[in-house]
């Protein structure tokens, strides 16, 4: 199993989410991060003094998938997140040794399988 961690622009999330869902990967987690990379800082002005921010908001996507699915997922992210401008972000792949589905207690790659009726499952 692999964990895919992507740092992307907010705008790219919605297409990625939709596409991953179609590909059968409904399960992802996102969080707000601030990143510095090759981007220049922006300067705010307040009552005559200045404040420079070097960090810019990014979205961090986390998604654990079976080994064989890694490429498909990475490719999907790369495709939708690319604008060609600096600040597009990075995708990293990390090894995962174990996975557990809390609801059932099951472990292993199977827990990563999308439920057949993922898109329309009852609320939970």
């Amino acid at each position: 199993m692999k964990k895919i961690e992507a740092f992307v622009r907010h705008e790219s999330f919605e297409p990625i989410r939709t596409d991953l869902l179609n590909l059968g990967f409904p399960s992802i987690s996102i969080s707000e991060v601030k990143g510095s990379g090759r981007q220049k800082g922006i300067t705010e002005r307040y009552r005559g003094a200045e404040l420079t921010n070097y960090l810019r908001p990014k979205l961090k996507l986390e998604c654990v998938v079976a080994e064989g699915d890694t490429e498909a997922v990475v490719e999907c992210i790369l495709r939708h997140a690319r604008t060609g401008s600096i600040g597009d972000g990075k995708v990293f792949v990390l090894p995962v040794e174990q996975a557990f589905r809390i609801r059932t207690g099951e472990s292993g790659e199977d827990t990563l399988q999308a439920h057949p009726d993922a898109a329309s499952a009852v609320n939970g």
Binding site: E11, F13, T83, G84, S85
Partner: protein, 487 residues
């Protein structure tokens, strides 16, 4: 066409017969003194009206983020129901003559000579609309007080149902007894200048009745019954509420003179302010001693409790008594809140700040009323500290008990009926409570960006397709760019 519209007009008129049939009198100039009195009372009524915003923000501040928006909807709804119900029915019950309840002036019409019909306000010549509007604002305040105990878990429908009953029947009759010319005022000489009992205790009693049906917020009490802190989300907005309410009391108490010509209202303002000031300091002292910190909410509760307490005596006492009355209220209100919190979940402290402080204020007339003012107002006698007699104190106590019993009984039963009508519970479901009333009752959070993930909000992500729709004549929507740098 005329044929079709005339019946239409008739239909409308038939729907509101008592109202619409009233002859429209040609307006005539007022006496100078009446005009002055009227301007003053309207000014007072406006700041009392604005107390609705005060209650809204007090409650908003004390609510969690997920339940802040619903307060706005609630106050608007209650205020609206009170506006119509008190106009249609309530005012007539409250001020139309009668010992147990009035019965003239429904829809503020067909009341004949207003000075006689609304006899308890006969000492003032301000226009009937002025009297109505001022008293309506009081009714709306009393109704707003009811709901402080119910935050964050009550069904919206309960507001609607009880508001009608309260503004049309419960408050009018209760206040009628105390300052509408009813038996407590007319026969016993109970003193309540601006409504420590008639407005605040009535409201808080309704709040107690609903709380007993409703129960605590989920998680408020640990398994062993220990109360847990559920901090309100916004002390600045809470503060806004307090400032607005304090200002409002400068209409509430001095406006109850229903006139400006004797200058009394300025003394009432002085007295009101001294009490509030002492209340804040008292509450901070208690909070410091008992909690170890200067609790912001308690400072505000101290102001409110002192203002509630000074409400009854504000037209009966000398200035020196005001800081004493306020200080006692202020010192006491945190203690009451701590004690009540042990068993009852009253998120804003309404039972303490309006209920217990209302009782204290009413009783304080029995201690501090200056006989000169009792005579001037034509109600009751001097208090214990002037006369050495307990008579007035006894009357005050009796009044408190009578009003509390009446309002509690009627409200408790009303809520019981509403409960049955609403399918057995006044509460939203546990899931709805967890999600918050904003989303579950109103379909959207009060602060959407605090709950909805940014990429699912518009303006954080591009529109779903590359080319946004071209819209009517409004021109082409600018295309997005991927650059993220602000000007």
């Amino acid at each position: 066409m005329r044929k079709r519209t005339l019946p239409m007009a008739t239909a409308v008129l038939l729907l509101l017969p008592a109202v619409a049939n009233a002859a429209t009198p040609e307006p005539t100039p007022l006496k100078t003194s009446v005009a002055i009195d009227t301007v003053w009372v309207i000014l007072a009524a406006l700041v009392v009206f604005f107390m609705q915003a005060g209650f809204a923000f007090l409650e908003i501040g004390f609510s969690r983020t997920k339940n802040a928006g619903t307060v706005v909807a609630k106050i608007l709804t209650n205020l609206s129901i009170a506006s119509l119900a008190y106009w249609a029915v309530g005012f007539a019950l409250a001020f139309g003559n009668g010992k147990l309840a009035g019965h003239q002036g429904f829809f503020l019409s067909n009341y004949g000579d207003a000075v006689k019909t609304f006899g308890a306000m006969g000492f003032s010549n301000v226009t009937p609309e002025t009297k109505f509007f001022f008293q309506f604002a009081f009714c709306a305040v009393s109704l707003a007080i009811v709901w402080g105990t119910t935050l964050e878990r009550i069904k919206f429908g309960v507001y609607v149902a009880y508001a009608v009953i309260f503004a049309a029947v419960i408050y009018p009759i209760g206040s009628h007894w105390v300052f509408g010319g009813g038996w407590l005022q007319a026969s016993l000489g109970m003193q309540d200048f601006a409504g420590s009992t008639a407005v605040h205790l009535i409201g808080a009693t309704g709040g107690l009745a609903v709380l007993l049906h409703l129960g605590a917020r989920r998680g408020k009490y640990a398994a062993d019954g220990t109360p847990r802190a559920i901090p309100g989300h916004n002390m600045p907005l809470f503060g806004l509420g307090i400032f607005i309410l304090w200002l409002g009391w400068f209409g509430f108490n001095p406006g109850s003179t229903l006139g400006a010509m004797d200058g009394r209202f300025t003394q009432v303002i002085l007295v009101t302010n001294l009490a509030a000031a002492a209340g804040v300091l008292g509450a901070l002292v208690t909070s410091r001693l008992k909690q170890g910190t200067l609790d912001i909410g308690m400072a505000g509760n101290g102001a409110i409790a002192a203002l509630v307490a000074i409400t009854a005596p504000s037209g009966y006492i000398d200035a020196w008594a005001a800081p004493i009355i306020g200080l006692v209220a202020g010192l006491g209100v945190p203690l009451c809140i701590y004690a009540i919190d042990k068993r009852l979940d009253d998120p804003v402290g309404a039972l303490s700040a309006h209920g217990i402080a209302g009782v204290w204020g009413t009783l304080s007339c029995g201690l501090f009323t200056d006989p000169t003012f009792a005579k001037y107002n034509g109600v009751g006698d001097g208090g214990l500290f002037y006369t050495g007699k307990f008579g007035q104190l006894g009357v005050q106590a009796l009044g408190v008990v009578a009003v509390f019993a009446f309002v509690f009984a009627l409200s408790y039963v009303s809520f019981a009926i509403i409960k049955v009508a609403m399918g057995g519970s006044l509460r939203v479901t546990a899931d709805e409570e967890d999600a918050g009333l904003d989303i579950s009752e109103h379909g959207m959070y009060g602060y959407p960006e605090q709950f909805i993930p940014a990429p699912e909000l518009i303006g954080y992500s591009a529109p779903p397709t590359e080319v946004a729709a071209e819209l009517g004549r409004t021109g082409r929507v600018p295309t997005a760019t991927s650059s993220e740098v602000p000007a």
